[in-house]
């Protein structure tokens, strides 16, 4: 059987992303940040369209908007008359709508923009040069995660306890948020903006049952992520389904399998 070049590239790209989304996704589940992940992902569309408009690297655009979103979130949370839930909903959909409007304006001015690729990913069009760039970014993020892992964990367990023990909680949270923004920027290509949060939380949730330590959960989440990428890309080849949603569907199927009770 001959495996096409682009499938190899797609699998490699997926592998690199789940290497990062596995551990980050576990932290998102532990700290109940799924909605924040969603908001960050939605803001990525605004970041990308601004980047296209000003002709800068999309990664930088996505990260800048991610930082603005997090800053606004923190500022709006100071007055405690609205829940984070409501504030995130406003920021998330505001950013999504802003991105859609901006893209439409650019399209009307004759720019060629593939909205569907942003929304649902385009893993099958990954080039070798993108792959090299992607591996550099993912390995850097992975290195940062392992370097900060103990602090990230302490903050996930209890922020005040961590603070009282001398961990720079605000700095850890900021860096974690930046790492999330980077992940969103690179995962856009794989599953698209709409489904990035799924790539974070579904493999982590599947891993929970098999894990006895935070680390084993992170590693198991990476494995579930890998299986999802294989399954999704295979399904996409076999039945000509869109790759991004197929990957997410595969991960959700694996989640339900992980919940099955096997008789010993």
């Amino acid at each position: 059987m001959i495996i096409d070049d682009f499938i190899v590239r797609a699998i490699l790209a997926g592998l690199l992303v789940v290497l990062v989304s596995g551990p980050l996704g576990c932290v998102v589940v532990w700290r109940r940040m799924a909605y924040f992940g969603d908001a960050l992902a939605h803001s990525a569309l605004l970041g990308t369209s601004l980047a296209i408009m000003f002709d800068i690297n999309p990664l930088i655009g996505v990260m800048l908007i991610g930082i603005v979103l997090s800053y606004l979130l923190i500022q709006l949370q100071v007055k405690k008359d609205l829940s984070s839930d409501a504030i995130l909903g406003i920021l998330s959909h505001g950013a999504l709508a802003g991105g859609l409007v901006l893209l439409a304006i650019m399209q009307s001015q004759g720019q060629r923009v593939d909205l569907m690729a942003y929304l649902f990913g385009d893993i099958l069009s990954v080039s070798w040069s993108y792959l090299i760039w992607l591996s550099a970014v993912c390995l850097l993020v992975l290195a940062l995660i392992s370097w900060l892992w103990q602090s990230i964990l302490a903050v996930a367990v209890h922020e005040e306890l961590a603070r009282s023990e001398g961990i720079a909680v605000d700095r850890v949270r900021l860096i974690f948020m930046l790492l999330m923004a980077v992940l969103v920027a690179v995962a856009m290509k794989i599953v698209g903006i709409i489904l990035i949060t799924a790539l974070l939380i579904v493999p982590a949730a599947s891993a929970r049952r098999f894990a006895t330590s935070p680390e084993s959960m992170a590693i198991t989440a990476v494995l579930f992520g890998l299986l999802s990428v294989f399954g999704g890309v295979f399904a996409s080849m076999q039945w000509d389904t869109p790759a991004g949603p197929s990957i997410v569907l595969a991960s959700v199927a694996l989640f339900f399998v992980s919940r099955l009770r096997l008789k010993a």
Binding site: V29, W30, R31, R32, Q150, L153, A154, A156, V157, H158, E160, L161, A162, R163, S164, E165, I167, A204, A205, R208, A211, T212, S213, P214, S216, M217
Partner: protein, 255 residues
């Protein structure tokens, strides 16, 4: 050389235009047990958070002994069920501790049997002792306990306070504890500070003679002290229940 572990002068704190703490001063000396008591909403937990450096006071000054190591036992610690972590791992996390130290500590606190259990499966009283073990493994100069008896039944509470006295003797650390249950704390504490936004009365049930200037500093300006001193005189003769009742009565009448 400083003679205190932690010293707060004229601490004031406002949250949403509400005065939470007003002109609160205190100092904790090495191997001293200081207990903060006060009604709900009296600012006990806020004061602890200021002393720990978790929030910044709006007024006043906070001094710490250089390289002060604090072991903090928070009031509630909910660990998300999605986070797989054994008791042992929780004790090791963030602490560079030897296996011997952990073995010794879990024996002292009676949590040895729980080491392999998931953190989410232990009871309230067990969890308090685990938190205490974790704080002590840091070899603290000062142990801070926020309502250590919360969620622990009456028998467990008595044991816990006995344990706290033992800890001070064995580890030689200063202890700051928050409690709303004065009569249980009475026997285990050197100083009591009654807080109701400001310090309304203070004193040391067992060891008045060791700190003679304390009453002058903190108790002289308020009527509450008369009531408190009254309690105090009786605490050696009467049952704890009577003491607690009188004390709270006095405090509430003042405000």
């Amino acid at each position: 050389m400083s003679s205190f572990l932690l010293k707060a002068d004229n601490i004031g704190l406002q949250i949403n235009q509400r005065q939470i703490l007003d002109n609160v001063s205190l100092s904790i000396k090495p191997s001293e047990i200081l207990t903060l008591v006060g009604p709900n909403g009296s600012g006990k937990t806020s004061l602890v958070r200021v002393l720990l450096g978790l929030i910044k006071a709006d007024q006043g000054r906070l001094q710490k002994k250089t390289d002060l190591v604090i072991g903090y036992v928070p009031q509630k610690l909910h660990v998300d069920g999605a986070l797989p972590m054994s008791v042992l791992r929780f004790l090791q996390m963030g602490n560079k501790v030897s296996a011997d130290d952990i073995a010794h500590m879990v024996n002292t606190l009676g949590v040895r049997a729980l080491l392999k259990q998931p953190l989410q499966s232990v009871s309230g009283g067990e969890f308090q002792r685990i938190l205490l073990a974790r704080a002590l493994l840091r070899k603290p100069d000062l142990l801070v306990l926020d309502e250590p008896a919360q969620g622990v039944d009456i028998n467990g509470q008595q044991q816990l306070y006995q344990l706290i006295s033992t800890i001070r003797d064995e580890f030689g650390c200063g202890i700051l504890m928050v409690s709303h249950d004065l009569h249980l704390v009475m026997e285990a504490t050197d100083q009591v500070l009654c807080l109701n936004t400001h310090i309304c009365c203070s004193g040391h049930p067992e060891a008045v003679s060791q700190h003679p200037e304390y009453l002058k500093l903190f108790g002289a300006s308020l009527d509450g002290i008369a009531v408190y001193t009254h309690n105090h005189n009786h605490s050696h003769d009467l049952s704890g229940d009577v003491v607690e009742h009188d004390h709270h009565g006095g405090c509430n009448h003042d405000h």
